[in-house]
């Protein structure tokens, strides 16, 4: 697996046996991955899987405990400053400067990269246009909505025209509309050739944005591939979701266990995995079972995750 993706040119990020320990807690337990230039690469996993620790190491703000990590073929331990200059970071928590205006947030940040002030200003104008915040340029940060702050943080991360953009849970806490605007902007960046690396615990986000992803759990990588491949490999084409009256799931489940390829009993529903969900549903009805609701859908990364770890992504 993954072999066919190994790139001929030098990967923009590569990690071998990457480990991060905090005192006696091992957040990342020896992971390997390579990210190609221009790719959109995702780390998918629940909270505490080690995604953010991995991102901080890639962002050169967290020293590697053991293993090797190289970015732009440079070593973060000795070339952190040079690497950071070529990278943009969108942290999990927006850390905009609340004492500055929207426009000045971008200009001041650009100055941190030693970009001339005039250049900062012209880039700031372009970027505000790109994230559709031009009309808020002179506003303070505080009154902005969550989605606007997120877009401003993304604009800020682009001020140094990075080759690599790191996004740690870019849309967590945003409403659906704000997420779609954000995805659209990220997709455009990808088209412009920016390499995107993101963490998420939303499967739809991973499916929308990522060419390739790794699934992380408990500090380890448990699967790797494109969203489609992962689904094909670890799940069936379709899933039948059955809901029975509260508290009767386990009991009813016994009568459907022989159906489909596999099943999962969740607290609120039963998932039956099968390539043809409709025919399974037909059989369920034929057996005289009457679920409160039944839904046939395509498999998603959520199912892959459930299969690989026995747990849901969002608890």
């Amino acid at each position: 697996m993954g072999q066919q993706y190994r790139v001929a040119v030098l990967p923009i990020v590569s990690a071998r046996g990457l480990t991060k320990k905090f005192d006696d807690f091992e957040a990342v337990r020896g992971i390997d991955f390579e990210i190609a230039r221009g790719e959109a690469f995702g780390f998918l996993g629940p909270n505490g899987a080690g995604k953010s620790s991995t991102m901080r190491m890639i962002g050169c703000v967290s020293p590697v405990t053991s293993g090797t990590l190289r970015l732009f073929d440079l070593d973060p331990a000795t070339s952190g400053k040079e690497i950071r200059a070529r990278m943009g970071v969108v942290p999990q928590q927006d850390n905009l400067d609340s004492e500055l205006t929207v426009f000045d947030n971008l200009v001041v940040y650009g100055r941190y990269f030693d970009i001339p002030r005039a250049e900062c200003k012209s880039r700031a104008r372009e970027l505000l246009d790109f994230v559709q915040l031009s009309d808020r340029a002179d506003s303070r940060v505080e009154p902005l909505s969550g989605g606007m702050k997120r877009r401003l943080t993304i604009a800020r991360s682009l001020i140094n025209q990075p080759e690599l953009l790191l996004l740690d849970e870019p849309t967590t806490g945003l409403d659906p509309q704000a997420r779609h605007i954000l995805w659209d902007r990220l997709y455009r960046l990808k088209q412009q050739g920016v390499t995107l690396v993101l963490t998420t615990h939303y499967m739809d986000e991973a499916e929308q944005l990522c060419d390739r992803l790794v699934v992380m759990d408990g500090g380890r990588i448990v699967a790797e591939g494109s969203p489609r491949e992962l689904i094909a490999q670890h799940s069936t084409r379709e899933v039948l979701e059955l809901r029975f009256p509260a508290g009767t799931n386990a009991e009813r489940a016994r009568s459907v266990t022989d159906l489909g390829e596999r099943h999962e009993i969740l607290p609120d529903r039963i998932l039956v995995y099968a390539d043809d969900g409709e025919s399974v549903l037909h059989e369920v009805h034929a057996r005289g079972l009457s679920p409160e609701s039944a839904l046939v859908r395509r498999s998603t990364l959520e199912d892959v995750f459930l299969r690989l770890t026995g747990r849901s992504l969002v608890d």
């Binding site: 703000v61 400053k81 942290p91 000045d104 001041v108 100055r111 941190y112 140094n160």
Partner: protein, 247 residues
Amino acid sequence: MTLLKRIWKTNLTLGFVQPILFLLGMGLGVGSLVDARTASSDALGGMGYLAFLAPALLATTAMLVGAFESTYPVLAGFKWEGTFDSMAATSLTTRQIVAGQLLWWATRVSLAVVGVTVVLVVVPDTRSWGLVPATLSAVLCGLSFSTTVGAYAATREYDQSFNYVQRFVVTPLFLFGGAFYPIEALPGILKPIAWVTPLWHGVELTRGFVLETIGFFAVLGHLAVLFAYITLGLYLCDRYFTRRLYR
């Protein structure tokens, strides 16, 4: 190197209001009592109490503002606002971040101290060219607090810690650091404590310059102590900021 743009915060500092209140309350009130007794006036070297107290307020103001500016605002940069984290993700080095912070502290302390200086120019007893070096010394005194307390703040997780700074460092120094009376009046064991704290050195400088009672070597000695504190503080800031930001 890169000049850090941290001077943007234009909040007008009102740091000089408090010293003016002290000047009026203590200087006029207590002063009238002190000056009425010839013996106490002699203990102050024959000067009026107002003249004795007023220059010291340059140093105490610097301490109050300098120490405060490196407590909550610093922890906010690490914890609540994440401003320092956002800087750490750029091509800035810790050293540059600390340098920017130093510049910011210097700005804040200067604004407050200059406010007091203006008041001292108005008071006839303290109107002197000595105010110029006194003001500069006060800023150094403030920075010796900013840098050391700032390094401490970088190691803190909760802002309750700052109550200790206030209770066990700032307030005792304010009272026992020689601002309101000569430290010779203190019991034996307290004197050496006053000698090692930056405030006493700041007070000696500001008072000495304004009243023209200080000698050349005393100036050098006091300045050396203040610079030593600032150097130590900056060293610790570099170390603890790095530890905090890159973990």
